[in-house]
């Protein structure tokens, strides 16, 4: 084929296949993808900087708004780091309640994902079914926390709301219904020929590549990597509950679907154990307003994978530095690899299969060069200055004479 058959198409920032603004520049030869350039940063709001300007307690609610789907993940991860710095040992009831909300959140997130994945492969009936069933868990979350999304459950030193016996009963009933429905979806996913044929062999990520590209969460587990923070480094009440880490060796989108569906069953298992063994006692302890100087890293298994927060305190009311590494950032490199040499039509489902959350990911803006002559990724300040002068000069804008005139003007006056 002649070279002229290669072309580039831009996808995004606004595109029907994308739920969030991000942009992909896809190099194509016919229907085949030669390479993908991913440009993130449309959702960058500057949360990390904003955290430094607010107190620790205000930050709990701010980091919750990093991502609306896994909001509890981010706030728990943040408070865990702060509690570690302050040396706070939270009550066990608070730990259990955190675990409970975390697992309910995983259920809602995985059901949401299943619907979106169904939508991407043109199976809109599945979208409507799962989103209908998802409302059951949303009701429970609203009952427990007072809000459907962005729960505001965490505080430094524990949780803010307690649950009573009647709520436990309602939740157990809801879990039974959801388990029935999940079993039905597992049956569909493992027996429906259309789904199996559409998803098998698409977006393949081998075990070695998953390790090399540092994939996390269900994306890694579907490639056989047994990695789960809940088991490897238990936080909250995960050390007290029994559950299995689901892995699969399909290594494709189909494997990721199966892993997520089976994880739902494990989540129900955890929710049941937590509700039945809920210890009595206080739900929070008093936390100091000023957090002593120190730093901590906190890990958390969000529905999408491992979430990492770094918090540094200088002994004041406000943190000195907060760094957030969301799971999608770890998985986005794998997407690039999965798409190579695949068909363009597979792109929406392959991207959807890592369950991307770009509002989590957009922690920084990349300044990319428009010309191809880029040689270095990181520039020092004088280099950047020289580059900008050069950039303007190429476009016929020259400030050097202006600078000279200004200098002379200052001298004479």
């Amino acid at each position: 084929m002649h070279d002229s058959h290669k072309f580039k198409i831009p996808i995004g920032p606004q595109h029907p296949a994308l739920k969030e603004p991000e942009s992909f520049s896809v190099a194509l030869k016919g229907e085949k993808i030669l390479g993908v350039d991913i440009r993130l940063g449309y959702n960058h709001r500057g949360i990390e900087k904003a955290c430094e300007e607010r107190t620790f307690l205000q930050d709990v609610y701010l980091v919750e708004r990093v991502c609306g789907i896994c909001s509890h993940s981010h706030s728990t991860c943040f408070v865990q780091a702060v509690e570690e710095i302050a040396g706070l040992e939270i009550p066990s009831r608070a730990k259990y309640l955190r675990t409970l909300i975390a697992e309910l959140e995983r259920v809602h997130s995985h059901l949401l994902w299943l619907g979106v994945a169904g939508h991407e492969i043109g199976f809109d009936t599945l979208l409507m079914y799962t989103w209908r069933d998802r409302e059951i868990v949303m009701d429970i979350l609203a009952q427990f926390t007072g809000n459907r999304v962005n729960y505001g459950m965490n505080t430094i030193g524990g949780v803010r709301r307690d649950i009573d016996v009647s709520q436990v009963k309602d939740a157990l009933k809801a879990v039974d219904t959801l388990q029935e429905r999940t079993k039905y979806y597992i049956e569909i996913a493992t027996s429906e020929v259309t789904i199996i044929k559409r998803l098998s062999g698409v977006g393949v990520l081998s075990y070695e590549d998953a390790l090399r590209l540092d994939a996390v969460g269900p994306t890694a587990r579907a490639s056989g990597v047994k990695r789960d923070v809940r088991k490897d480094d238990p936080y909250a009440a995960y050390a007290d509950v029994s559950f299995d880490v689901i892995t699969d060796n399909h290594s494709d989108v189909y494997g990721r679907t199966v892993v997520r569906l089976k994880e739902l069953l494990e989540s129900f298992k955890i929710i049941r154990q937590v509700l039945e063994n809920l210890p009595a006692g206080p739900i929070a302890i008093k936390a100091p307003r000023k957090i002593p100087a120190g730093e901590a890293i906190s890990r958390y298994e969000a529905p999408r994978g491992e979430d990492v927060h770094f918090v540094k305190s200088n002994g004041g009311e406000k943190p000195e530095r907060v760094k957030i590494r969301a799971p999608t950032l770890a998985n986005v490199q794998a997407v690039k690899h999965m798409l190579k040499d695949r068909f363009l039509a597979d792109m929406p489902i392959v991207i959807a299969a890592i369950d991307p959350c770009f509002s989590c990911t957009d922690r920084s803006i990349e300044i990319s060069y428009l010309d191809d002559a880029r040689k270095k990724e990181v520039l020092t300040w004088p280099e950047l200055h020289a580059y900008s002068i050069d950039w303007h000069r190429k476009r016929g804008i020259d400030f050097s004479s202006l600078n000279k005139k200004l200098k002379e003007g200052f001298k004479t006056s």
């Binding site: 920032p13 029907p16 959702n43 904003a50 409507m128 989103w131 459907r148 959350c357």
Partner: protein, 144 residues
């Protein structure tokens, strides 16, 4: 108003098409917008349909504060929509900037970039509130 324009207006109110655009939201409002369109809340019973392109859309549903990256794109998408067009700002962030007000990469609410017809506050705006806002916008069109 002539009979023809009456009929056109009637048809427009009966089947408004939406375009959903995330302008830097945290996804919370976005999932609530989708939840409003799915069986429990079923916004589609008002003849509303979600569309993929601005050229087909009557109503632009925006969520999130306007980030500096997205601003140009938002204006461009707005300009691509055919007249008459309406913008709904869903969520506190898209109304005023919300918790992100003052962040270095955030401008403010949607109305700092394009004119807004309806504001739906809430963090996130619940599906019920979204339905209420959409219906209020449609009934305000009836009077015109």
């Amino acid at each position: 108003m002539s009979t023809v324009s009456n009929i056109v207006n009637w048809a427009r109110i009966k089947s408004p098409w939406l375009l959903h655009f995330n302008t830097g939201a945290c996804n919370a409002c976005d999932i609530e917008i989708i939840a409003a369109l799915t069986p429990r809340y079923d916004l589609e019973r008002f003849g509303i349909q979600l569309k993929g392109t601005p050229r087909h859309a009557d109503i632009l549903v925006c969520s999130g504060p306007v980030t500096r990256q997205i601003e140009d794109r938002l204006v461009r998408i707005y300009e691509q929509m055919p007249e008459p067009k309406f913008v709904i700002a869903v969520g506190t962030c898209s109304c005023t900037g919300g918790v992100f007000k003052g962040c270095y990469n955030v401008k403010a609410g949607i109305d700092s970039a394009i004119p807004v017809a309806a504001y739906i506050p809430g963090c996130p705006a619940s599906p019920k509130a979204i339905i209420d806002g959409v219906v209020k916008l449609l009934s305000s069109l009836k009077e015109k």
